[in-house]
């Protein structure tokens, strides 16, 4: 299945090419953790993972055509 990936803030450097917005293909039942592994984003790297706008974690399942956004954790306002 095809997944849209968008990397922002400190996570941009993990993009496989020059563009921080790209697509990746995964087998069914793949998780956000599999995506992180593909991009070589290790466990220590702080990140927020959003799948279709919902705060998710490594165990969250990817779905066909979903958008995964990963960026440095923030808070405040």
């Amino acid at each position: 299945m095809l997944v849209h990936v968008k990397l922002y803030s400190e996570l941009k450097r993990y993009a496989p090419g020059e563009d921080n917005v790209f697509m990746l293909e995964f087998p069914p039942e793949s998780t956000a953790g599999d995506l992180l592994q593909t991009l070589k984003i290790s466990e220590e790297v702080p990140r927020f993972i959003l799948i279709d706008g919902i705060l998710s974690d490594e165990k969250s399942l990817l779905t066909e055509g979903c958008t995964v956004v990963i960026f440095t954790p923030v808070c405040g306002g």
Binding site: K6, Y8, S9, E10, E44, P46, F48, L50, D52, G53, I54, L55, V69, F71, T72, P73, V74, C75, G76, G77
Partner: protein, 610 residues
């Protein structure tokens, strides 16, 4: 007393008298300090129906028992008064160095009443105090005023003052301290201006006595040690990009208010995001007294059109002046922020009011001739120019100075003002963060993210994540966050450190770390239940004041854009905010009547008298 100074300075401007009063230890325990002390005093002494800009209004500037003690982020003070923007109670708080200096000068709080015939400033110097002529300062910006007052009092003095906006009673004028820190919201600066009080200048060298300094030091060592260890593994986003980094989150959750809240995403967001600010205009970060985070932004813009140097912007400023007005020119947003700081205005209400004016023009409800210039979405030059005009109440700025509600109402479209209790919202669209809507509607001061901020659990997963789109079950954690905010504001702490580091990691957010600091500092020996109850007491007495001022359930409202018009695009598409359903649940959790009034039994239990 330990932690507290035990002294309040009463300033009667009508009579030109300044005198000391003792702080009642039972009141200190029950209401903590800061925000709690302020509302206790106002509930006792202020007519809820008074004109906020009349001499009858009272303004309290209060520190908390942890302000200036060395507890992490114990640097804050609160300004409590009746708001000219909302007509209800307000509490606006700020950090920096002024609050600690005020407390070291010998006082927990200042209570300002009446109105001086001529402009004056208050000079408090290590337990001595006097009112001084300020006619030579009238008309000066906040930076000019600060420089002048330091030169004529003490170069180490700290200054809280108003700028031209406060003098001209802009309804959202701020009180600026340490040049660029703001007690920004609800027009506290207009109240100060109405009293002809230009500034409060403080110098203090008196150490704050702690009940158990060894226990305090040991707990401090543990907390800061843990914090620094964690920071090594997880670099602190707030230190790297400031609160401006939140743009990335709100955009991708689809809750970044855009085009006066018609959209939840902004095409130009990457041009105004925190990482862009860091890359382009950041000189260095800055920290308030005793803060290990340092989220402040010292910035400089060199582009000729918007050149300047100062602090900011924060996330809320970027939303209000950026996406909300569809301005993707970061230099212009930074410049408008500088102007707000120098003239002394709240950036949230300023940006939100300009965004509202843009929609009124766009829909043909207001003519550009009335504005005196073109006013289209995304007009960076208009943003900067109208901000300046508002601070001086020049031309159309005189209308903007009344805030978005009065502006939209004058065009017969009050529904286009994005407010609750006539105060503009911070930058989280509650259609995609349901509890934020409940918090806006029930905040005692109107639209605010500082009276309980559910974005922490709905968007940032702190202390635990909760489904942002669900509305059932949101009343309880919202109530818990509101009570907790009341404790933080009253103790003199900052929410940024406290919510992550001084509470239990669940949605009840039991303030165990705060309790440890409070007891070591004050020696009062609160139980966890007593401290939690103090938070509830503060919320309930604020509510009581509002009820007496005539506020009811109908005022716990949101614009119909948020409750009836589904979000048209982005990750929150199709959702509305389910406020009414959440309100029923919320009043029940609070033991309030279905009309939002605290019951006599509840007030009695909390030992609150009318």
């Amino acid at each position: 007393m330990f932690g507290w100074r035990g002294k309040i300075l009463r300033v009667n401007l009508t009579k030109g008298m300044v005198y000391e009063e003792e702080l009642n230890p039972q009141v200190a325990k029950d209401y903590i300090g800061g925000r709690g002390l302020g509302i206790w005093l106002l509930n006792k002494e202020l007519d809820p129906h008074c004109d906020p800009l009349s001499p009858e209004n009272i303004m309290v500037m209060a520190t908390g028992p942890l302000t200036g003690t060395g507890a992490p982020t114990g640097a804050r003070y609160s300004v409590m008064t009746k708001s000219p923007l909302s007509g209800g109670i307000t509490c606006s708080n700020s950090g920096g160095k002024f609050p600690t200096e005020l407390k070291r000068s010998g006082f927990d709080a200042l209570v300002v009443e009446g109105r001086s015939e001529k402009p004056v400033y208050l000079w408090v110097n290590d337990g001595k105090y006097e009112l001084r002529n300020a006619e030579h300062l009238w008309g000066m910006t906040t930076h000019e005023t600060t420089n002048q007052l330091m030169s004529e009092t003490d170069v180490k003095a700290k200054v809280a003052c108003i700028g031209p906006a406060g003098e001209k009673k802009v309804l959202f004028a701020a009180i600026m301290n340490d040049r660029d820190r703001a007690a920004g919201r609800s027009g506290v600066g207009a109240v100060m201006g109405s009293k002809n009080l230009k500034a409060v200048v403080v110098r203090g060298t008196q150490k704050i006595q702690l009940a158990d300094p060894e226990r305090f030091k040991e707990f401090n060592r543990q907390i800061l040690g843990r914090f620094n260890e964690e920071a090594k593994v997880t670099p602190i986003g707030l230190r790297i990009n400031g609160t401006a980094g939140v743009v990335t989150a709100t955009q991708n959750f689809g809750v970044l208010p855009t085009k006066n809240w018609q959209q939840g995403t902004f095409a130009g967001w990457e041009k105004i995001d925190g990482s862009e600010l860091t890359k382009t205009y950041l000189l260095t970060n800055s920290a308030c007294f005793a803060c290990p985070i340092g989220c402040g932004r010292k910035t400089r813009v060199d582009e000729l059109e918007f050149a300047g140097e100062g602090e900011g912007p924060e996330y809320e400023t970027i939303y209000a002046m950026g996406s909300n007005c569809m301005v993707d020119n970061l230099a212009a947003v930074v410049k408008a922020n500088y102007i707000c700081n120098e003239l002394g205005m709240d950036t949230i209400t300023m940006g939100a009011t300009i965004g509202c004016a843009m929609e009124l023009v766009d829909r043909g409800y207001m003519k550009e001739e009335e504005v005196g210039r073109s006013l289209q979405w995304g007009d960076a030059e208009a943003l900067v120019e109208l901000t300046r005009m508002t601070g001086y109440r020049e031309g159309f700025g005189d209308k903007l100075a009344e805030g978005s509600y009065r502006l939209a109402e004058s065009c017969s479209h009050p529904e286009l003002a994005m407010v609750s209790k006539k105060q503009e919202f911070p930058g989280y669209d509650p259609r995609g963060a349901q509890a934020m809507g409940l918090a806006y509607a029930t905040s005692p001061i109107g639209g605010s993210h500082m009276r309980g901020d559910p974005a922490y659990f709905e968007l940032f997963g702190i202390p635990k994540p909760m489904d942002r789109l669900a509305w059932k079950g949101k009343a309880k954690p919202t109530q818990a966050f509101q009570d907790h905010s009341a404790i933080i504001d009253s103790a003199g702490l900052c929410i940024f450190f406290t919510v992550r580091n001084l509470v239990e990691k669940d949605l009840e957010i039991a303030p165990t770390g705060v309790l440890e600091y409070m007891n070591a500092a004050t020696g009062v020996n609160y139980t966890l239940e007593e401290l939690a109850e103090a938070g509830q007491r503060i919320i309930n007495i604020e509510r009581l004041f509002l009820v007496k001022a005539g506020f009811t359930r109908k005022d716990d409202s949101l614009p119909k854009r948020l409750t009836e018009d589904p979000m048209i695009e982005g990750p929150s598409k199709g959702h509305v905010c389910h406020l009414d359903e959440m309100l029923d649940e919320y009043y029940a959790v609070r033991d309030w009547t279905p009309d939002g009034v605290p019951t006599p039994e509840k007030l009695e239990k909390l030992r609150i008298s009318g």
